[in-house]
């Protein structure tokens, strides 16, 4: 009998890295060239919603690797997003109306934000990854609520106003140009993170994560240190989500509790479930559907100036209904693989 050496086939991701690099360079070119041209109102709305789509894409990819691939119900992506945002903002801000600030150079602030996110990921991971799936959801959810409570209520975090005066490192010639540049840079970062997530999912490590999702006890019986692997997934996620928060602070120049509400977690989760948990591409597409609906209502609202809150309510009703229908009739999501659906 001939022995076959198992080979690992990576999807060729060099193209992705190249696309990502081009996008980031384009963004930087806009910033440093001082280029300026007019943009119409609708394009500006598209860009504004697009920026948040890209920031949330940096949350949905790690959540998908954690839940879709490994089966860990992390219900607090906004916790790490918030840690990155607040740590970066407070350390880098050169003077905020409210709250304690330090005025360090921004790269140090970003680094500190990511390190803090890792530490929290490690702490939560080591202590709670032994809990049952839905309890893990409760702990991560509660932890995110605790962060929200602290930044809103404890003095020094700026209260409801938040932290301002963060250096806006993406400042271009004018306000619309800044947004355009940030869109390119963020799109590049999302492509990088997508390539990374794809690589993790396809690697031997990724297959092990899927094995943990399918049957953790069996995987452990094969001699795999499942607990360590689960903690590692939590830490990888923490890095990316913390970084997403840092980028929010540095783009926006300010952070406030309004950016880190439970709604962000819900949006990210719904996007992933609609697109297809377990598929990196699917979860990003799903998020795009949700943000696309948001964009559509924003533009439609511009055209028919009826009550904005009624419009928003209608949109959220549609999203809620869509989620229920997807879970019921296509639990693997629109782009998910129905054969890989132990979790859902």
């Amino acid at each position: 009998m001939s022995t076959e050496t198992p080979t690992v086939e990576f999807s060729d991701d060099r193209l992705l890295w190249a696309v990502g690099a081009v996008l980031v360079l384009l963004g930087l070119a806009i910033i440093f060239s001082g280029l300026e041209f007019g943009l119409s109102g609708i394009i500006l709305i598209v860009i504004e919603v697009g920026i948040f789509f890209l920031l949330y894409a940096l949350l949905v990819l790690p959540v998908n690797v954690q839940f879709g691939v490994s089966g860990l119900v992390n219900f607090g992506p906004v916790l790490w997003f918030g840690i990155g945002a607040y740590a970066t903002a407070m350390l880098a801000s050169t003077g905020s109306y409210q709250g304690v600030t330090f005025g360090f150079p921004w790269p140090i602030a970003v680094l500190a934000g990511v390190v803090l996110a890792i530490l929290v990921g490690l702490l939560l991971g080591v202590t709670t990854l032994q809990l049952r799936g839905d309890f893990l959801a409760v702990v991560t959810l509660a932890a995110a609520e605790i962060l929200y409570g602290i930044v809103e209520k404890v003095g020094g975090f700026g209260g409801a106003t938040g932290i301002g005066g963060v250096p806006r490192i993406f400042e271009a010639a004018s306000f619309p140009m800044t947004d355009l540049a940030v869109t390119f840079v963020l799109a590049g970062v999302v492509v990088f993170v997508y390539a990374l997530a794809q690589r993790i999912t396809d690697s031997p490590y990724g297959r092990l994560l899927k094995a943990i999702r399918s049957d953790e006890d069996a995987t452990e019986a094969l001699g795999k240190p499942t607990f360590r692997y689960k903690v590692l997934v939590f830490i990888y996620g923490a890095v990316i989500m913390g970084l997403a928060g840092s980028l929010l602070a540095l783009y926006n120049g300010a952070v406030s509790p309004g950016f880190i509400t439970l709604d962000v977690t819900v949006l990210v989760w719904i996007g992933m479930l609609i697109g297809g948990a377990g598929s990196n591409r699917g979860s990003v597409y799903g998020l795009a559907i949700i943000m696309g609906l948001q964009l559509f209502t924003r533009i439609a609202n511009e055209a028919f100036p009826v009550s904005q809150s009624q419009f928003a309510a209608l949109r959220l009703m549609i999203i809620g209904l869509l989620l229920v229908l997807i879970i019921r009739y296509r639990p693997s999501g629109i782009w998910g693989n129905p054969e890989e659906r132990e979790v859902l």
Binding site: A142, E152, G155, M317
Partner: protein, 292 residues
């Protein structure tokens, strides 16, 4: 503020959380999932306060009884449409579906009722006392706290003295065994949905009389209800009852006694208590068996 006053506020908050937490935990035990849409069941009760007391001018106690029936029926209908056909798909898909349902209902209320906040005056009278540091009790406090205790007595009787309640406990403890013993678990689940929806309605009604009525009334409490139920030991009605009062006292005493910089952290601290309990004792206060 005297200690007694804080205790009264704690009892008040604990009471309406506990009523909801008992319903929440029954669903968790018998239907087996974390129902994030439960807050929206409570909101129906809150709107019923506004309709029965403010618009129809009924006394609060009559309104409460009407609310109980209406929410039991509405809650059962909603569950019948969304959750009953999903039975057996697992805890996580049902949890996700409940998030979608909650979002749908919350915004549906918003669409038909508007976002504004409505206040309900049940015409409570207030009794002031000068001893023990001075405190006051209103008929509202009495209504809420006594409703809670009457409901627990009823739930206790239901769970220990009636066939339907014993079947609920059996199903909660081990569904397969219950079915093997001839218990119709499908009917048990239906009963649980009816009871839990009614409890949500009562809790929402009481919240409506104390704070305000808005499409988010229930949603604002859901995390606390969830925390209380899990703290008590998911699935245990008695645990949920004690868990609620513990959280309520944590919240009222932090607000009353800690320095102002951190006194707003009551709820935050309640979540911290939840996390610590889950880590130290995942089975909760009532020591419920937890499958790993």
């Amino acid at each position: 503020m005297g200690v007694i006053q804080s205790v009264i506020f704690g009892l008040q908050l604990g009471s309406y959380i506990a009523i909801a937490a008992v319903g929440f935990t029954l669903i968790y035990g018998v239907v087996n999932f974390i129902n994030f849409a439960y807050g929206e069941y409570m909101t129906i009760g809150a709107f019923m306060t506004f309709i029965t007391v403010n618009q129809w001018g009924l006394p609060a106690i009559v309104g409460l009884l009407i609310t109980l029936v209406v929410t039991a029926v509405l809650g059962w209908i909603v569950s019948r449409i969304v959750f009953v056909p999903m039975q057996g798909t697992g805890a996580i898909p049902m949890l996700m579906a409940s998030i979608g349902l909650g979002m749908f209902l919350r915004n549906f209320y918003q669409l038909i009722a508007g976002g504004e906040v409505r206040f309900v005056d049940i015409g409570a009278s207030q009794f002031e006392f000068d001893f023990l540091g001075g405190f006051f009790v209103s008929t509202q406090h009495i209504l809420i706290i006594s409703s809670a205790f009457i409901i627990f007595a009823l739930i206790h009787v239901l769970l220990t003295r009636t066939q339907a309640g014993i079947a609920m406990r059996a199903t909660s403890h081990n569904e397969l065994l219950a079915r093997a013993s001839g218990i119709r678990t499908k009917q048990v689940r239906r009963n649980v949905w009816i009871v839990a929806s009614a409890l949500a309605g009562v809790s929402g009604f009481l919240i409506g009389t104390t704070t305000f009525v808005s499409p988010l009334t229930g949603f604002n409490q859901i995390l606390l209800v969830l925390a209380a139920a899990i703290l008590g030991g998911a699935g245990s009605a008695y645990g949920a009852f004690f868990g609620s009062y513990i959280l309520a006292f944590v919240i009222t005493f932090t607000t009353a006694y800690l320095p102002t910089e951190v006194s707003g952290l009551g709820e935050t601290l309640a979540f911290a208590v939840l996390i610590v309990v889950l880590l130290v004792r995942p089975s909760g206060l009532a020591d419920v068996e937890v499958e790993a």
